[in-house]
Symmetry: C2
């Protein structure tokens, strides 16, 4: 069934932690990453959190000789932070921005502003093998015990799975690399892998070298927040290289490596995350005798998904939906109260002007300040209300889709 | 080369003009649409501007017997307004929201709030033919002579073309139906058709019946704004059914019809747009002897696109980019001025508290009002600045992609 190896693909993925003014020793690290990628060239480099276009420009300059083709995916205010560098021409691109991505008022988390997305670049590799390579990032998990964003991240995972199912038919090899902010045993990861048939390079690798258990956020890295990793003395694995094949190809992961904290010969690591590096062998497979040339889309979108993962995700999305409704009502109530206060003040002012009251009970200054405050609250609460209406709608849409997908799984 | 007809597909597309509280005789028209679709059943019904979920519910109820499968695409505050009804099961869905879609402060236009999108539903039709059907809508054209949103609509068209190229490989037949707010000879339409290879059912139809020149916004419709159609006495054609095939199938449009204003036996039309109805014949084609089973993606994404359309779109996007930059600077300047005013007032207030000034030059009430106003302007201008920063980024991204696509076309 199997022919000779037709293609060796070396893939590099790293969350670069390149937040301007916030990430420590950013420019130094970006230069280090560029130099390292020049020394050991890869066919595909999938980077995340490259928020600054100057950093992207610097990397493009450095990688000009080994990965001359590149694309920077722009979105929202700050950008998606995603970029892809390739040894072979990038023929076509597409950016898919998740519908839900945190809240604009959570400034300290900032996910909303950067428009977390999955990018997609089509490459023609050697010998006519088409590959789509996608750098991606999901919403961060700021607190594992009380993960406020779990529902948002699960909706992102669900949309990501839909996106992969719809776009993967255009290529022979589908490659994803990125920071999924999800551990291998988490419901999100089971959902994604189950719904798409994507395989985890770490689990499939013939040889592995790097941090124990393939961890990519480790206490030994001087940039990680040690307190966050306290429950995990070895660290956690949240960065992945995932792959699958379409048509008549088979992929095997020959080797997987991770960086291990401090960069060789330096006093700092490349990032607060560890890089993941995979060597994949793509082989052409003969089509079985009598098989049809046309390969229809699998009839059941969650054929491979454990119903448990969908059920679990569904429960979390429902919890999120309840929260969104609570916040929507709270914001709506606040807006109504502010409006009532404004109307009351307007009535009092009109009364004073018409001379109904004997004397104005409050000084004009306090009245004006109170009116300005009420107006501010009214505007703010209305915006918040609309935000949570939208959040509720999108969570409900995902909830319905998951619910619809479930009966197909039941025996 | 051609076998027997394997499938007849009857497709219906209509912009339903279903804006709650604003669209005239909305509920009556929705009932009319439902009744009409029950009398003459279609295999696929692609509707736009169904903003109210109650309307969708009513249609779902009415179409339960002829099109039992349906999906409502939710997005943003109001929703995408898109829904699809199908005679055959919908196996998988995906919603792609365009990155640019007007401005939130243009409340009278409201496009921003509804998150214009393209939906996608996978159907397995009879005899194993896979179809993806996409209802879609692009940003409205409010004034043809001074079309402020042309750049946004062209970026949407560009993203739509990318989306179709990436998702169309999953199906045998790709169907799009919707209100493109673009006339057939416009740059957007040439760009879309050229970049995707989509064919226009009106241009390809063997038989046609309906409004002259296939117009879908006609002066005879009592809901259209007559002044907007003054330069076009016959009306304009902005609603389309477009199609293409992948793999081993060929599609021909046997018949195309449009409604012609007032609904039969009623005093009102179904909507302010005319419905488009196509009968397509899908035939299985034999693969030529010696042809490879694997069909690679076309190497050049704009192989079929006239370079002229890309050049023209590029010029319009650049005009849009200049506008976005102007608006960004204006908002930024305003924010800085408001901040200076606030600082000045703070200094004056501190001075008065410290007893530096002999007497306060302004009454406290005026000072407070001015400070509140300055604060409001500062907040508003900062939001506007961020909005136009994002707009500029996204226009620049599209400009770069179009520019990159161009040299491939040049001899």
């Amino acid at each position: 069934m199997e022919g000779d190896p037709v293609l060796q693909l070396r893939v590099f993925s790293l969350n670069c932690w390149g937040i301007r003014y916030l990430s420590r020793r950013r420019q130094e690290r970006v230069r280090l990453i560029g130099d390292s990628l020049c020394r050991e060239p890869f066919d595909l480099v999938l980077l995340q959190e490259v928020w600054s276009e100057q950093d992207y420009g610097l990397l493009r300059e450095k990688l000009g000789s080994c990965c001359p083709f590149s694309h920077y995916f722009r979105s929202r205010v700050i950008g998606s932070g995603l970029c892809v560098f390739s040894k072979f021409p990038i023929l076509d691109t597409l950016l898919y921005q998740y519908s839900l991505n945190g809240y604009p008022y959570m400034l300290q988390h900032g996910d909303w502003f950067c428009g977390k997305s999955v990018g997609l670049g089509d490459n023609e590799q050697q010998q006519g093998v088409m590959a789509t390579s996608s750098p991606l990032q999901l919403h961060a998990e700021y607190c594992r015990d009380k993960d406020t964003y779990l529902a948002h991240r699960l909706v992102q995972t669900w949309e990501l799975a839909q996106f992969i199912r719809h776009t993967s038919h255009a290529a022979d090899v589908v490659l994803l690399g990125g920071d999924l902010n999800t551990q291998p045993q988490d419901v999100g990861m089971r959902l994604l892998r189950g719904c798409t048939g994507l395989r985890d390079a770490f689990a499939e690798a013939k040889r592995f070298e790097g941090c124990k258990d393939g961890c990519t956020l480790i206490p030994d890295n001087c940039f990680t927040v040690k307190t966050e990793l306290q429950p995990f003395p070895l660290g956690i694995r949240i960065d992945y290289i995932l792959y699958k094949t379409e048509s008549n190809f088979a992929v095997k992961c020959e080797e997987l490596r991770t960086t291990t904290g401090t960069a060789p010969g330096q006093d700092i690591p490349y990032s607060d995350h560890e890089a993941v590096m995979a060597t994949l062998h793509v082989r052409r497979q003969e089509r079985p005798q009598g098989a049809s040339a046309a390969e229809p889309l699998p009839a059941d979108p969650v054929t491979e998904a454990p119903a448990d993962a969908v059920t679990e995700a569904l429960a979390e999305v429902r919890v999120g939906l309840q929260g969104a409704r609570r916040r929507r009502y709270a914001a709506g109530r606040l807006a109504v109260l502010a409006l009532l206060l404004l109307l009351l003040q307007a009535a009092a002012a009109l009364g004073a002007l018409a001379g109904w009251g004997a004397a104005q009970p409050f000084p004009a200054l306090s009245c004006c300040l109170l009116a300005a405050l009420a107006l501010g609250i009214l505007l703010g609460a209305t915006c918040l209300h609309l935000l949570h209406v939208t959040e509720g709608r999108l969570l409900q849409a995902a909830e319905e889709e998951m619910r619809m997908a479930l009966p197909l799984r039941r025996p």
